[in-house]
Amino acid sequence: MLNPFVSYKKSSDEALMKRLQNRDNKALEELYHRYFKKLYHFSIKMLNNDTETANDIVQDVFMKLVESPHKFNLDKKFKSWVFTITANECRKLFRIKPMKTIEDKEFEISIEEENNSENLSLFMQKLDHKLEELSERHKEAFILKYNQDFSLQEIAELQDCALGTVKSRLHYTTKFLAENLSQYKSMLIK
């Protein structure tokens, strides 16, 4: 029996999912507030800044959540489950159409004229651009680790591979990015 007086904000994701399985709208609202931005941002990054497609994917994921919440196993972690669904949807699109690439000339900027905040966003654009050059799995591991705070084990489960493979992918990605983005280091100096 679910306790009607429990705070939704303090509830775990899994407890909220249990409530959603009983068609609780407040639980749905709380999960939406917790995960919409995260999933949307993750999708945007995975789809090379295609915001419209990313929005469609996240909406599909939430619709699936509402249509069949019983598919979620309450013994498992909701975060891993929902990101796995989103990542699978992104991978499908990744295979269907090649993502648009950003030309290097877009990053030709006058460093002296830009303030620090804008420098950070330009750095992020360059980072995204370089991530596009990597494989889908390398990119995914990097974003999950440094954007969504996933543990290595969680990434391994999500990508269905060994822990060592994840470590290797992350090591390769960070090394590649550090080498290729060294020329933009000056942008980050305050």
Binding site: K37, L120, T174
Partner: protein, 171 residues
């Protein structure tokens, strides 16, 4: 660029980007509507799970029936100290006796089961020859038929009658 430096800046950048995103409230309303539409009314639950539902209904009816029809039996007998001890004797068979113990409290509770167990089983009386015995202040009056019966049973005089000897009377 150092890798740690890259990671820190990437994390800062990702955090900033994520904060700048806005939630789609219209979509949230749509989700809530969709969720409401899928909420099953009670009668549908009844149809979708008939076995537990009917079992529950039958069990409820059964207990309601019991509640209405079966009157509760007394579970305890309360014996009061006042009035004084009542002792009832039968002339032939001691039927029952109520002993009142000295209790500090006004009442004493005795379990009905315990009480009934203490009562000795009553002997069967031959209905074909009803006996009438009247008890009145230590004087005993017997029906004539009883005396005749005794004579027939023993085949001897009244002096040999067990009943007469037992009662201490001369017939």
């Amino acid at each position: 660029m150092k890798e740690s430096e890259l990671i820190k800046k990437a994390q800062d950048g990702y955090k900033k980007e994520q904060e700048e995103l806005t939630e789609n409230t219209q979509f949230l309303d749509q989700l809530k509507e969709a969720n409401n539409e899928r909420r099953k009314p009670l009668y549908l639950l009844w149809l979708s799970r008939p076995i537990p539902a009917y079992s529950l209904a039958l069990a409820t009816l059964f207990f309601l029936f019991l509640l209405v029809t079966v009157k509760p039996r007394p579970t305890e007998l309360i014996v009061y100290n006042n009035p004084e001890t009542l002792i009832q004797y039968d002339t032939i068979v001691m039927r029952d006796t109520i002993h009142i113990l000295n209790e500090t409290k006004n009442t004493k509770a005795i379990e009905s089961k315990k009480w009934t167990n203490k009562i000795p089983r009553q002997k069967k009386i031959n209905k074909s020859a009803p006996r009438q015995t009247v008890v009145n202040n230590s004087e005993f009056y017997f029906d004539v038929s009883q005396v005749n019966d005794q004579q027939n049973l023993s085949g001897t005089s009244a002096n040999d009658s067990e009943l007469a000897q037992f009662l201490g009377v001369n017939i």
